[in-house]
Amino acid sequence: MLQPLTSTGDMRKNRPKPCITPLEDQSVNTILEKQQLSQEVFRFIIESPLIARERKPGQFIILQLDTEYGERVPLTIADADEHKGSITIIFQTVGNTTHRLAALEVGDKIENVLGPLGHPTDIRKFGKVVCVGGGIGVAPMHPIAQAMKQAGNEVHIIIGARTKELIVMEEEMRAIADELTICTDDGSFGRKALVTEPLKELCEQWKPDLVAVIGPPVMMKFCAETTRPFGIKTIVSLNTIMVDGTGMCGGCRVTIGGETKFVCVDGPEFDGHLVDFDNMMLRLGTYKNREDQDHHRCHLDLQLEEKTNA
């Protein structure tokens, strides 16, 4: 059908109506809720309808606070509400961006949010699944555990943290789990143990079909070592250095079973028994000096109390 011809006097009048979320919509990336979970851990709910619609458990976003000079930081999506058009992120204040992010309030906008990125978790009925979340890793584990449960799996969740006050999302995890184990390094809450202890017991007695682990690299490494003798498939979610997150820079490369893989497009989840954790941990330290400086400086600038063991 022929469209009626219109005058072209003002080109902007001709501008077609965008069909997805319009650029003019100022509410995108607005912080809807903010909650401090522990001294350095925060939960934000962010309006982001496109990402909320497409995202699946296991995927992540990249955010940047300042278009001109900001850094791009990958963060896992902890939850999403497609109807409200919002996503949840839980993050720990580590470098410049996360500290500044923590200083934002409800109603503030995040300049740039890109996602969802990475492969979703392979969710299906495996039978018995152990989900291990260490520290802040509990947050990205939450949607995975939830989906595993919904897929008909029996789910045993292990939460580990250095000390009681660093445990996040205990209630949410308890609501999903058939069985929940909490351990702290210092015994201030739950069992005084590393997560590998209950994991080993489960491997021996409960005999899971799949183990999923998200946490600090060294924890994931030892979880993978724990399950290896039992031959139980173990997936880990890697968080490496990343710039674009779309398969362009190669900064996130890791060695998986002797092959170079890219966390942003091949991951973030990999077979824990094939990951070269030692090399990954080493490469994570590339910009360590700068990060430590930033952490310290942010606490001074933002007048936050700094914990020596943070």
Partner: protein, 497 residues
Amino acid sequence: MHDRSTLDAQARAVLNELKGAKLTVKQRAAIPSQEMPAQDPLQRIGNMNEVATGYTEAQARVEAARCLQCKTAPCIKGCPVAIDIPRFVKYAEDGEFLQSLAVIKESSLLPAICGRVCPQESQCQETCTLGKMLKDVNKSVSIGRIERYVADFERESGEVSMPETAPDTGKRIAVIGSGPAGITAAADLRKEGHGVTVFEAFHKPGGVMVYGIPEFRLPKAIVESEIENLKQMGVEIRTNFLVGMTRKLVDLIDQDGYDAVFIGSGAGLPKFMHIEGENLIGVLSANEYLTRSNLMKAYDTEHAQTPIIRSKVVAVLGGGNVAMDAARTAVRLGAKKVYIVYRRTEQEMPARVEEVAHAKEEGVEFLLLQSPSRILGDERQHVRALEVLSYQLGEPDASGRRRPIVIEGSEHELPVDTVIVSIGNDSNPLLERTTEGLATNKWGNIIINEEDCSTSLDRVYAGGDIVLGAATVILAMGQGRKAAAAIHERLTRDQQS
């Protein structure tokens, strides 16, 4: 090297002599070729500003006067978008710079950019009759420099002419990627009156011209002004939008009401050498290094939050423009010594001659006929040296280039603390993976019909590096233009039926 005022004075003198004279071929050929004024090497290695500062008016006119206006005009055939070169050069000679630019704009959308980054010596200037006559391609008419002059003249005059846009057709096209291919397709389609949305994954539009090519070679203000022109034409640009992930490609057509899609998503994952030590601290791809410096502005340590490796001795592996960009960035970031390690000789280097020359002036050392065999680390797993093998040239291979052959037992160590790998890219897998039925070749590049850039999917077209592998700005533009014409024809046909 001469300074700008000397070069300008010389050009003015020549211009005075030529005034009003009807020049013979011999006289034109005798006019000295004009040297590009540039920042002094010692000065420029301490800043990120553009190296080549551009011809003066007199220089542009004198250089244009060297053109023989030959009937065969082989230069046009050498240009991927077939700019009417003799005609624009003639206007430049006469000082009619806006008219000169208008001629270029008939065929090319981004003259200020192409004038700077096109490999002219292997395109328009390679076949130049004057260059052939003087038996030196470097003595060809400097077409690119004249192009740059007239494009800059218009931009700096503040009176940028906007292309006319046809009445609204009601058709809408999604363009994936805001690099050279995407920008060109978007502008051409908008001119025809179609609604155009450009989807860019990064937080800033411009693609490789923003994340890849450094400020000292292509000032970002120029790219921004081209993007601004596009917006003024009514093209919508959506950043932070990764088609395939943020939205599936087919959903753009099936659910969001786009009538066609052009994919210009660019190059993908960097290739690595797959040699021992490649995952040591201090080994990175040129893509990462340049993205940190250019897009994330990591060179500006006072303002930028993105860190970048501070190196003392750097080896850059590769011989293309990207390798030169990485090496010269390393110099500017304070490296004391920077090597280019390349397996063949300078003749085979794909980099633009000017970039190689500039790199040498800036102290970059070229280690030719050498190729790395291992990267060696210290006890902290930081790079300490590159083990290199020497090569000699053998018989020509399939590409016609003499194949380098390793000299057995020639291993030697080159002490370095950083290795930047710049040996090209594989294709980005995201669109192929998330778009059922989109045919790609064994390297993951999208397969197109050469005639119209159409893909295996109806209403989906593609061009630029995602099709060509690694190409140039102008080749990507050429495909963007070809695809736009095909899309326009297709949508017009739809409307009539």
